[in-house]
């Protein structure tokens, strides 16, 4: 059988038209983009719509992409990069059990992997929806690339998540400034942090939002200041519009008045050499909280403008009760508070809890508190 030559050109043109990849090597984002919606495979009808005034249980938790306290090379003095599906699922089961026992209505999660090689490509948003009492989710990528050409990390998609028993809408990814203390190549492949904002269909509330943030951890310049500035402006816009919200996340910032601002020696890994603040550095990235003017009081405007789940008075009276982060070495228990909940509504008195018993499932501890619409 013989084929006319022109058919091969037609075949070539057909292939060119049909097969084309639109995924960039690294995904970049506009200032504002729609988030990605999720829904549990089995929506729990009991989530229902109570009549009259009621309470909303809220939680924030940086779940460390289901790596638990395994020795990840990036933040734990470890030599692990890629975790097995069994390891990740075991940690997710612990996280889901904790969420189910606390029974929050709205959860703000940070460091959630969706399609990442390091966590066996498990879609952790869907997994958590299918294994908790929560029904709906919104996701905004922080780090998305077909390959991260370093340390064998490979494909990456991790980000911030809002989970809720009630439907979410108007979910928006708000871009935060990139670090400026990196070379261009590193910056291109590095994290692109964001604020995730979504409208929650809370019963009897015309408008109620959840706002989730994961601010920079390792910047040595004033990037963190810019992140908090964008965050406070986002909250102010909602507040000025008379819209109620619950907000929080991993702010990677200390509580104003915290006794210690230098954790370099607590976080030091074998073979590393750092000095205390008194020596003038060098400091370990992410372990030192005085990189720019007023960094130790960075969160004061949030405390001044909104209601914290844990008041400054309570925190400063007994700091260790409220620590949410354990040093990356794994040798020491929690030693600093980095995770917060705020609202422009009202918390139930003494409803807050810092779940330091969850230390097996992440290097961050969940914080919960209850919003009271009665008051």
């Amino acid at each position: 059988m013989r084929f006319p030559k022109f058919q091969f050109f037609h075949f070539l043109a057909f292939c060119s038209a049909v097969f084309f990849s639109c995924d960039p090597l690294v995904t970049t984002f506009d200032d504002s983009e729609n988030a990605i919606y999720y829904e549990a495979n089995n929506v729990h009808q009991s989530a229902g719509f109570p009549i009259g005034p009621f309470e909303i249980n809220t939680m924030t938790w940086n779940i460390r992409f289901g790596a638990g306290i395994l020795p990840f090379f990036g933040d734990a003095c470890g030599d692990r990069v890629i975790f097995t599906a069994a390891e990740v699922e075991a940690n997710l089961e612990g996280i889901a059990a904790k969420i189910n026992s606390a029974d929050p209505d709205i959860v703000l999660l940070q460091e959630v992997d969706r399609q990442s090689k390091r966590s066996a490509y498990i879609d952790q948003v869907q997994w958590l929806l299918d294994n908790t009492n929560l029904n709906y989710g919104a996701y905004a990528s922080v780090w998305k690339a077909q390959v991260i050409p370093s340390d064998g990390i490979g494909r990456m998609d991790f980000g911030n998540v809002i989970l809720s028993k009630w439907e979410l809408s108007d979910a928006e990814r708000i871009k935060l400034p990139l670090r400026e203390d990196q070379d261009a190549l590193t910056q291109y492949f590095y994290l692109r942090r964001n604020i995730l904002k979504a409208k929650v269909a809370v019963p009897n509330q015309t408008e109620f939002y959840a706002v989730n943030i994961h601010a920079t951890a390792f910047a040595t310049d004033d990037t963190k200041q810019k992140h908090v500035d964008t965050y406070t402006q986002t909250l102010k816009d909602l507040d000025d519009a008379g819209i109620g919200f619950v907000t929080g996340g991993d702010l990677n910032a200390l509580t104003p008045g915290a006794a210690s601002i230098d954790f370099c020696m607590a976080d030091i890994c074998s073979g590393e050499s750092y000095h205390s603040d008194a020596d003038g550095g060098p400091h370990k990235d992410g372990s030192y909280f005085n990189n720019f003017t007023n960094e130790p009081t960075l969160l004061q405007p949030l405390y001044d403008s909104y209601n914290p789940a844990i008041s400054l008075t309570n925190y400063l009276a007994n700091e260790s009760n409220y620590f949410t982060h354990a040093p990356s070495t794994g040798d020491v228990a929690t030693d600093r508070k980095l995770d917060y909940l705020f609202t422009n509504l009202t918390w139930n008195a003494n409803s807050d809890s810092t779940h330091q018993d969850a230390s097996n499932w992440s290097d961050h501890m969940p914080v919960t508190a209850t919003l009271n619409f009665l008051q």
Binding site: K5, F11, F73, D79, I82, F83, K117, S150, G152, G154
Partner: protein
Amino acid sequence: MKHLILCFVLVFAGLELSAMDSAIPLEKGKWEVGIINPIRFGLGSGREISAYKLLSLKMPNISYKKLRWRKWDWGISTRHSLYYPTPFLKWLQSPLGMELGDPDMFALISPEFDIPHMVSIWNSVIATREIMDDVHFTGSAGLGISVGANELAQESTIDLPFIFPRLAVYYSGAVLKIGSAIHSKINKHWGYVVSGEAFLMPGAPGEFAFENTSQIEWVRNSGFRILLGYKMMYGEYPFGGQAHIFPAFDFIWRRG
């Protein structure tokens, strides 16, 4: 940046981007070399050896092709190839030689994994026929098996186009490759190549891949030609299916 470029040249150029293949070996004493295509040398009596030269820096490899049957318009050859990927995969764990804890820049495999000594052996049948004047059709089918790869961690795959299916044999134990190509001359200086190749990888974390290469050929003379076009691929990876398209080019010299 130069290291990144070197890394990708080694990885992609070394891993058989070539669309050119034929059952007909080079004549005795003739050799052919391309930037992307392998270096080939005719041994005479219907025999040819070839190797991917850039890849050989890190992955020693050699192929032997033998014309088995030539009758009517058909030529049928067998090709037998051997690859030793261990140094290459180890190099991909730390291309710049830095230890874990420092940035292992450009590492595509985590240094946490042990890379065992292993080889893959490929045996293929290649058939070529002139289906019309100056138009050659080539079909091929081959089976690759790996030896010594049992200890290789399944999590150490490189989940990227071109690379994943070519290394899948070390994760699945066996891979079946089938392909076809059309090479046509339009006139003295111009021609084209269209080829397709499918990888069946049962047991690997992604079990199927297909590649299509389409290139225009410009022939300066019998000693030099240029190929320019694209290479498209659809493949299954541990995370799901994905398609890619890349430019594909080569400069090929022939002597002898």
